[in-house]
Structures are given as C-alpha cells and as structure tokens.
C-alpha cells in the first residue's frame, strides 16, 4: 500500500487521545504508586514517606488473604461455569429446532441488562422473607424452610456466583456462536461421513475454530471477574462476616471508608500487579493458541 502521501505531522491526530489518557489514567496511576509509599489520609494529611511498609503490613493481614482467596474462588468458579455453559448453549443454538431464531435473539438480554440491575434483581429473588427462590423451592417441596441465601457465609458467595454466571454466560454463548458460524459446512459433513463421533467432531472440527475467540472471552471475563465490585456491593456489600469481600471491595473500604489512602493505594497496586500477571500469562496462551492453528 502506498503511504507516502500521509503527512509527517499525521501523528498529531492521536494527540488528543494521548492527552486524555495521560491526564485521566497515566497521572493517577503514577500518583497511586507515590501514595502507596506514604501514610497519607484521603482527606487532610498528605502523609509521610514510609517506604514499603504498607506492602509489608498488607501481605500478612488476614483480611487481605481472605479477600484474595474470595476473589480467586469467585473468578475461577464463575469464569469456568460461564465458559462451559456458554459453549454448550452455543452448540445447542447451532442445532435446528423450532424457535431457534427467537432463542438466539433472547440470548442478548442478560448481557444487555445493567450489572447493577442484575444484582438488584437477584437480591430480590434471594430475599430471605419474600424472595422467589425460597417460595419456589418450598412450593415444589425441595426446601423445608426459608433460607437466608445472602445472609449465611457458606452460601452467600455461591449466590453471587450464580447471579454473575446468569448474566455473563450469554456473552460467551454469543461469542462462541459467532465463531461456530465460521466452521465450514463441508468439513463438518466430511467428518460425519468418515464416521467421526460427536466428541471427535467437537475436538478436531469445531474446537480449532472456537479456540481463538473463546480464549479472548476467557481473558476478558477473567480480568473482569478479578476486578469484581458492582454485583458484590449491591448483593452483600462484602458480608456476611466479610465472607464475600473481594479485593476491590477491600480497597474501597481501606481507601474510602477508613480513608487510609496510602495503604489503600498499596492494596490497589497489588491487585493491579496480579491482573497484569494474569494478562501476560493469557497473552502467551492466546499466542500459542494462534500458533496451533
């Protein structure tokens, strides 16, 4: 392609974008790093330099370790469930049946529902006194007495995971379905004639087309899940007994509720570091998946 006509100063067209990114993201990131080395308060004291003290204190704090494990459980379980259910749904939507077009259209609904509204809806469904889940399970005889799904430390995190999976499996299904359209019909037919079983056909015919887009969905979902805030905030605010307090909620508490800006910034940086490591790890996986093709 001939690009000689593009003027030298063309890069200036990217300047507004760069300026916004530097001001609203670059500078705050830099300042978070600076704050993490101080004992500044959110309002009032600008704090003194304390070196890596904040980090040293944090990593041995039980609430940090608990939040880390809660976040890890939430991320691993919801993302796995979303991928499995999403792919299965996409495979189903590839089959021919009456109403398929309607069902494909409806799949966008959970994804389009705002996260906060989704959380609010499930909060109503899980309501210990009047919720639909208790009513339905008792009426069909599966449950003896009403449960406080969000009020018990054993069940709260699972209730949140169900609500999150319901909203996000549809996204995975939509991405997978789009990817499945790319599998050539004649290859499918040939595999069938050659007598390949359903598992073999999935593994050798379908999966190569699915792997790339699915990897991207895994990356996006993992990073989103690790940052989770909204759904937990609305459903439980991290309770009961802090059993659903994820890392983002802990940062919120530390920096804003307790106004410990310095230590909150350190915690935020630890979260950022973990997400960066995840992203680097995944980037390698994506590259390897593409090389496999």
């Amino acid at each position: 392609m001939n690009t000689a006509w593009i003027p030298r100063q063309a890069w200036l067209l990217a300047l507004p974008l760069m300026a916004v990114m530097v001001t609203v993201i670059g500078y705050p990131l830099f300042d978070t790093i600076r704050l993490s080395l101080t004992d500044a308060r959110l309002i009032g004291s600008t704090g003194n330099f304390v070196g890596l003290n904040n980090f040293a204190k944090l990593v041995s704090r039980p609430d940090f370790l608990q939040a880390l494990s809660t976040t890890a459980i939430f991320t691993v379980v919801s993302v796995s469930a979303e991928i499995v259910l999403g792919v299965l749904t996409a495979l189903l939507l590839q089959q021919r049946f009456v109403g398929r077009t309607l069902l494909r259209a409806l799949m966008i609904l959970p994804w389009a529902l705002p996260t906060v509204v989704n959380a609010m809806l499930w909060r109503l469904i899980y309501n210990p006194e009047y919720g639909a889940l208790n009513a339905a399970l008792t009426q069909i005889g599966l449950l003896e007495g009403y449960q406080s799904w969000l009020g018990q430390p054993q069940s709260a995190i699972w209730a949140i995971i169900v609500a999150d999976v319901w909203k996000n499996f549809s996204l995975v299904a939509l991405i997978s379905l789009a990817a499945l359209q790319a599998v050539p019909r004649d290859v499918q037919a040939a595999a069938l004639i050659d007598g390949a079983g359903i598992v073999q056909r999935f593994r050798y015919v379908t999966l190569p087309y699915l792997a790339g887009p699915l990897m991207v969905a895994v990356v996006l979902r993992t990073i989103e899940a690790f940052k989770v805030f909204d759904i937990v905030w609305v459903l439980t605010r991290g309770g009961p007994a802090n059993s659903t307090r994820t890392l983002s909620l802990l940062v919120y508490q530390e920096a804003f509720a307790f106004q410990r800006a310095g230590s909150g910034a350190s915690l935020a940086l630890i979260v950022t570091l973990i997400i960066t490591l995840l992203a680097v790890f995944y980037a390698r996986l994506v590259r390897r998946t593409e090389e496999m093709k």
């Binding site: 507004p16 990131l29 959970p110 509204v117 990073i223 805030f229």
Partner: protein, 280 residues
Amino acid sequence: MERRSTTATIFTYVAAIAVFLIVLLPFVWLVVMSLSPAEALTQKPLRWWPSEMDFSNYRQLLDYTEGKGRDFLSALFNSLRVSGLATLLALVIAIPAAWVVSRVKSMDWSLSLVVLLYMLPPVALAVPLYMVLARIGMLNSVYGLAAIYLAILAPFTTWLIKSGFDALPGEIESAASMDGARLDQMLRLISIPLIAPIVATAAIFALLLAWDEFFYALLFTSGVQAKTVTVAIAEISGGRETNYGAIAAAGVIAALPPVFIGLILQKALISGLTHGGVKG
C-alpha cells in the same frame, strides 16, 4: 444435513426449553414484581401473578413533583447526560486517533499501550482521581464524571474504529490525496462516511458501557445534581425502599434503554464483540 435420531431431537428440545426458561424467567419475574401491588409481594405463599396490574410503582417513580420521583428522574437524566457527553467526546478524539494508528504502522505500540491502560482496575486510579476532583471542586459533578468516563470509553472506541479503517482500502485515500484533497477533507468527506456503521457500533457500545458504570459513579457522585441511575438503583435496593415492587420498577426503567438497544441492534453488537474479540 445431518439427520437426527428421535432421542437427539427430544434432547435438543428439552435443552432449548431449559435455556429459554433460564434466560427469560428472571426477566419476567422482574416485570411481574414491578406491576404487583406491595401487599402481593409479601404474601405467603407468594403470589406469582397479581390479580390486577398495578402501575402505581411506575407512576410514583416518574412523577417529578414528588420526592421519590424527582430523585429517580434526576438520576436518569444525569446518566443520560454523562453517557451522552462522554460518548460524544470519545468519538471526537477516537476517530482521528484510530485513523492514524491504522495508517501509520510505526504507531502500533501506542494502541497496545492504550489497551494495556484500559485493563487497569478502577481501584488503581480511584484514590488520586478522588483527590484531584475534590481539589478542583468537580466531585459530585456530571462533568467530572464524564471526564473520567471519556478516558474509559476512548481506548475502547479507538480500538473498534481502527478495525473499520483497517478494512478500508488505502487506495481510495491515496487516490483522493493525489486529486489534491487535504487530510481533513479526505477524512471528513471520504474515509469517515465509509466506516459510519462501525462508528455507530462504537458509539452504542460506549453508551452501554457508560450507562452501566457503577464504581466511579458511587465514589464521585452523591447528590441529586450528579448521582447516576446505577447509584440510585443500588441505594433503592440497599434498604431505603421497602416496597419490592418499586425496586423492581426502578430496575425495569433503568434496564429498558440497553435492553431495547440490545434487541434492535443485536447483529451490529455481536459483530462488534467478535471484531474486537477476534482481533485480540
């Protein structure tokens, strides 16, 4: 085409009905709750279908003369202003940037940087942003929030629009430049109109993303003049409201715009998702 056995057909239909119910039932229940009188939702055993439709929840929320309605309508209006303003500005800075990144190969690194910044968790930026907004008096202001949303939306829209420019043959542009078109004329009259559909898709994504945002809105807005609808819903659902029907009605109203957009523009949205996706 493959011919299926009867068992496989039955299995397909059972699974399809299950997915149908799983996707739809929570929605239906949300709407039913919003149309139920308060007493019907606190009965045991629970009444699954109200004896008559009750629109009073909607009437109250949409009545600007009363406290509840005023709070909610202001929140809707604030969300509209913040997402509209942020989306508009994001497009204004994303379109030229996307063009440069697409045409000048040596600019590739900048896009990776932008995407990397986009992946940062909001908590990594929240404390300094709060301090700056407080210092310049922009806390609890739709403009302060819109400025932050702009930085969230811009990289995303740039990424999407760049894929549109990538698909546009460079010959059209080099021909136009040989005919003496200035760069701004060429972009305005030729390149941008040709990729209008993808710009529209980017705008829709940006609007949906901004409408959905909660974390920054919770931190940076508190009063009627800036609080967005997601914050209002979280507050209503978090205990200030005891009428479950009213909570549900607020949810339905807040969900209507994105759900409507999702159903109407589904093809464009899915192609945008996979475009952004496949490109990695």
